[in-house]
C-alpha cells in the first residue's frame, strides 16, 4: 500500500515536471535555436548589431500561429538583456489590446515611465504622449540606449490611419535616435497593408518561421518528454521512463499517428498542445507514458462537431432538417420556418409518421437548431421580423446529414428514405 502511494507520488511529480515544461516556451524553443542558420541566431545577430552599432532598425517576424515567433523573440531578448543590461529597454505592445493609436501611445508612455522611474500621467493627451515618446527616443539615443518596440499582432496596427506606426518610424528617421521596431504577425502579406508613407520608412527585413522538419520534430519530442537523470526523481525511475519513451517514439504506429496529426496541425504550438493532452492522460498508477495516451489525445482532437450536434438532436429536430434538405433538393432557394412546416406537414400527410407535433413544439426544435448552429439566418437584416419568417439555411451538407442520420441510433427508417428522394 505504501509502495503504491510512493509510486503515485513519483509519477505525479514526473507529470508535473512535464506539464510545466510544456507550458514554458523558453524550454521548448531553446534546443531548436543552436544552429547558426536558425531564426534565433539571425534575429539575435540583427538586434545585437543594432545595439552595438547604435543604429535604427526594423524587422518583421512572420509565420503561422503557434510557430514560436514570440517565444524565439523572448529568448533573444532575455539573452540580450543579460548581455547588455544597461543598453536595452523593451516596450511590448499587442495589437489585440493596443490597436487604437491613442491607447497604444499611452501604453508606450506608461512602459517608458516604468522603465525609467518617471511619473506616469493618466490624463496626458495623444500629443503629450507622442512628444514624450520622441523626447525619450532622443534622450535614449544620446545615452546610447536602444529602445526595442515589440509589436505583436502587427497587422492590427496597420488598421486605420497607422498614426502610431508613422510617428514611431518617422521619429526613428529624423531624430538622432536608437530604436528597433519588431513586428510580429501571422499574416504574410502584412507589409502590403502598410501605407506608402509608412512602408517607405520601414526596412523590409523579414524572418519567416516555418514548421519544423521531421527530424527536428522527433528530436524535439524526445527533448521534451524524457525525464532528466540528475534531478530529485530517483535515477532508476527516470531511466525506465526514458527507456519506455524511446520505445514508443521508435514505434512505427506512433510515427504514423504523429504524421496524421501533423498533416493538419503542423506548427510547434499545435504539437505542444497535443503532447500536453497525451501527457495529461498518463496513468498515474502505472507512472509511464503509453501509446494509448497518444491515441486518446489524437482521437479527442479529431472531432467532427457537426456530427456530434446531429447526434445530440432529438428525432423531431432531425425531421426538421430533413425537411429543409428536401426543400433544397426541390431547388427552393430560401425557406423559413413556415415553409419548413408545410413540407413537414406534407410528409406527415403522405406517410402518416408517428412524429407529428404542434407548431409551437416544432418552433422550439427549430430554435434549438439555430442555437447549436446547424442552421442559421441567411442575413442579419430584419431583426424586427420574427424568427418564423426570417429565411434560414442549413449549415451542413447533405452528405454530413446522411452520415449523421446513419450513425443516429434510433433514427426512424423513414427519414433515410426521405433523404434519398
Amino acid at each position: 500500500m505504501g509502495r503504491e502511494k510512493e509510486k503515485e507520488k513519483l509519477s505525479e511529480k514526473a507529470l508535473n515536471l512535464l506539464r510545466s515544461r510544456l507550458s514554458d516556451p523558453n524550454f521548448i524553443f531553446r534546443p531548436l535555436s543552436d544552429s547558426p542558420d536558425s531564426n534565433y541566431s539571425k534575429l539575435k545577430f540583427i538586434i545585437s548589431t543594432s545595439v552595438t552599432e547604435a543604429c535604427n532598425n526594423s524587422i518583421l517576424l512572420l509565420g503561422p500561429r503557434g510557430s514560436g515567433k514570440v517565444a524565439v523573440l523572448e529568448l533573444v531578448l532575455s539573452d540580450l538583456l543579460q548581455q547588455y543590461p544597461e543598453a536595452i529597454s523593451v516596450i511590448r505592445l499587442n495589437g489585440l489590446l493596443h490597436s487604437d493609436d491613442n491607447c497604444a501611445l499611452k501604453e508606450i508612455a506608461r512602459q517608458l515611465c516604468m522603465e525609467h522611474q518617471l511619473l506616469f500621467s493618466k490624463v496626458a493627451s495623444f500629443d503629450d504622449n507622442s512628444q514624450f515618446m520622441i523626447a525619450m527616443l532622443r534622450e535614449c539615443g544620446l545615452a546610447h540606449k536602444t529602445i526595442i518596440f515589440v509589436l505583436d499582432e502587427f497587422d492590427f496596427f496597420a488598421q486605420g490611419k497607422q498614426r502610431l506606426l508613422y510617428s514611431l518610424l518617422d521619429a526613428m528617421q529624423s531624430v538622432n535616435s536608437q530604436a528597433v521596431v519588431i513586428g510580429v504577425s501571422c499574416r504574410l502579406d502584412v507589409d502590403q497593408l502598410l501605407e506608402k508613407r509608412v512602408r517607405s520608412r520601414f526596412s523590409h527585413r523579414k524572418l519567416l518561421f516555418l514548421s519544423p522538419s521531421k527530424e527536428d520534430t522527433e528530436r524535439f519530442m524526445e527533448h521534451i518528454l524524457s525525464l532528466p537523470m540528475d534531478s530529485s526523481l530517483p535515477h532508476n525511475y527516470a531511466a525506465e521512463f526514458n527507456g519506455r519513451l524511446k520505445k514508443i517514439l521508435s514505434d512505427e504506429r506512433f510515427k504514423e499517428l504523429i504524421d496524421t496529426y501533423l498533416s493538419f496541425n503542423f506548427t510547434i504550438g499545435h504539437l505542444v498542445r497535443f503532447l500536453f493532452q497525451a501527457v495529461s492522460y498518463m496513468d498515474l498508477n502505472a507512472g509511464f507514458l503509453s501509446l494509448g495516451n497518444f491515441k486518446t489525445a489524437l482521437s479527442s482532437n479529431q472531432r467532427q462537431p457537426k456530427l456530434e450536434c446531429i447526434r445530440d438532436c432529438s428525432i423531431l429536430e432531425l425531421y426538421m432538417m430533413v425537411c429543409m434538405k428536401r426543400l433544397e433538393v426541390k431547388e427552393q432557394t430560401s425557406y423559413n420556418f413556415y415553409s419548413v412546416m408545410t413540407e413537414y406537414k406534407s410528409i406527415h400527410d403522405s406517410f402518416q409518421t408517428s412524429d407529428y407535433y404542434a407548431a409551437n413544439v416544432c418552433l422550439r426544435a427549430f430554435e434549438h437548431l439555430l442555437q447549436c448552429q446547424l442552421i442559421s439566418f441567411i442575413d442579419n437584416k430584419g431583426h424586427n421580423q420574427s424568427v418564423e419568417f426570417r429565411p434560414v439555411k442549413l449549415l451542413i451538407s447533405s452528405g454530413e446529414l446522411h452520415q449523421g442520420l446513419k450513425s443516429y441510433q434510433q433514427c426512424p427508417a423513414i427519414l433515410l428514405k426521405l433523404m434519398d428522394r
Partner: protein, 533 residues
Amino acid sequence: MATEESPQVTRRATRSYSASNTAIESANPPESYKPTINDLGFRQQPLRLEDLLSSFPGRRSQILELLRLLGPLNSPMFPILVYGGPSTGKTSVTLQVFRHLNRPFIYSSCITCYSPRILFESILNQLLFHRKDSGHSYSSVKRCERPSDFVNYLREALENVITNLKGNSGKVSSKMSGRPDGTMVYLVFDNLERVRDWDKSSTILPFLFNLNDILKMPEVGLIFISNTSPDTYYLNIGYVEPIPLYFPDYTEDDLRHIFMANQTNSRLYASFLDVVLRPFCRVTRQVDELAAAFSSLFKKYSEPLSDKEVAPNEEMKRRLFSHIRPHISSALNETFQVRSQPLLKAEPNQETKKTTGSRMPGIREDFDKIDFHMSTSAKYLLISAFLASRNPATLDASLFDSTGVSDSRKRKRKASEKSMDQKEMAEQELLMKGPGTFPLERLLAIFQCITSLAEDSLDEEESHELTVEGGSGGLMSDVLLQLSSLCNANFIIKGGSCPLEGSTRYRTAVSEDLALKVARSLKFPLSKYLYRR
C-alpha cells in the same frame, strides 16, 4: 432533476456573487464581512471523488477527463473549452470539480456580465476581494473598459493573489482552515457563446482566446464553457484552439438515472418514467424542459392513487397508463409552456432569448377558447390588424364595400398547370415574406368596417349595442388606447416609419390559428374576409 440542480443550490452563491454582485443575498454575512482569499475556493467541505461521480449520472468520463486536464496540484495547464448542448451539466460539473479539488477559481458568466466592461470589472472585483455595497455606492473596485487596462490590472491582481497563495501554502494543512489548495488560479468563463452577440465581439473573442498568450503566466488556468461547438467561433485572425472537452446530450438511460434520483416513491416513479420517457425523448432530451413537463404530468399520473407511498403492481400500472395516455399526447404538443409564454405571465422571464421579444409566443392551443382576457373592441382591433397584414391593400375596397363581402372573386375557373405552378410560387413567396405592414389609417378603416358589420348583425339579433360606436370621437381615443396596449402585449408590432409617408407602420405577428379563435369567440366570419391566392 434533483441531481442536476441541487449542487448549485448548495453552492456558496458564486453564481449570484459573480453576477457583478448586484444580487443581495439574504444568507450573506453582515456588512462588515470582507471577502478574503478563502472566498476564491468553495467554502464548503470538499467533495469526495465518489460523491462527485455519483451525483452526475452519465458524466463519469467527462469528469475524469476534466480532472486529468486540470492535472495535479500546482501544475500549469492549457486553456480548455468545455462545450455541449444546453442542460448537459457543463457548468455544474466544472464547479463541482473545483469543489472536489478545493482550488481557487473565479467564475463569471457572460449572461450576467453582458458587456466587456461588466465582465472585466466582475473578474477584478473577485480577484481584489471587493464586494459592492452601499459604502462606496455599489461601485466596482476599478473602472476598466478596454482590454488593455484590464490586462494590466489583471496581471497586478493575479500576482498579488498568487504570492498570497504561495505564502500560505507552506502553513497549516489547508483542509482544516478552509483555505483553497495550490497556487494556481483558474478563470472560468461561462456562456461564452453570448460574446458573439456583443458589439465588440470581433475584438473581445480573439482577446479572450489569446488571453493565455497575452498574460504569459503559467499560474493561471483558463476554462471556457460554451453551448456551441468550437467551430462556431469564426475568427478571422486565427488562434491556437483551446483543448476541447465535449459534453454529449444525456442518453435515455442517463435521463432515467437523473429523474430517478431523490424520488420518494421510486417504484411508482419508475413505472411513470417507463410510460413517458420514450415519447418525450423523441421531442427533446434537455433535462430542464423534460423536468418542467414531467412534474405536472406525474401529478396527473398519481391522481387516482389514494396512497402515494404504495408500490404499484401490474394491474395498477395498466390502469394508471390508460388514465395518463390522453394527457401524454396533449402534453407532447405543448411541452415547456413556461418559457415560451413570458408575455402572458405576470413575471418577466429572464431566460427567454432576445428573439422571443419580437415574436408572438405560442398561445396554448386550448381547443376552442383563448385563455386570456381581452375586451371586445381589442378583439376586433386584433382581427382587423390581422386582416390588414394578410390582405393586400388594393383589395380592401372590394372586400369591404357597402354590401359586405364581394363574391366576384369566387368565380371558379379550371386551373391550368402553369397557373397552379404560379400559385405555388406565390404561396411560397407569401410564406417567405411574412405578414405585411400597414399604416394606422388602414387599420382604423378596416376596424370601422368590421365593427359596423358586427353591429348590423347584432342589431338584427337583439337591440343591444356594442361598446364601440362607429365614427364618434370617443371611439377613436378608446381604440388608440387599445392599440397601444396591444402593442405593449406584442400582439401588434410597431415597425419603423415609412420614409416617404413619415407615419409609423404596424405589423402583427399573430398566427392564423389564434386569429381564427378570436374571431370564433366573437362569432365573426373571418375566413370570408381572408384573401387567399
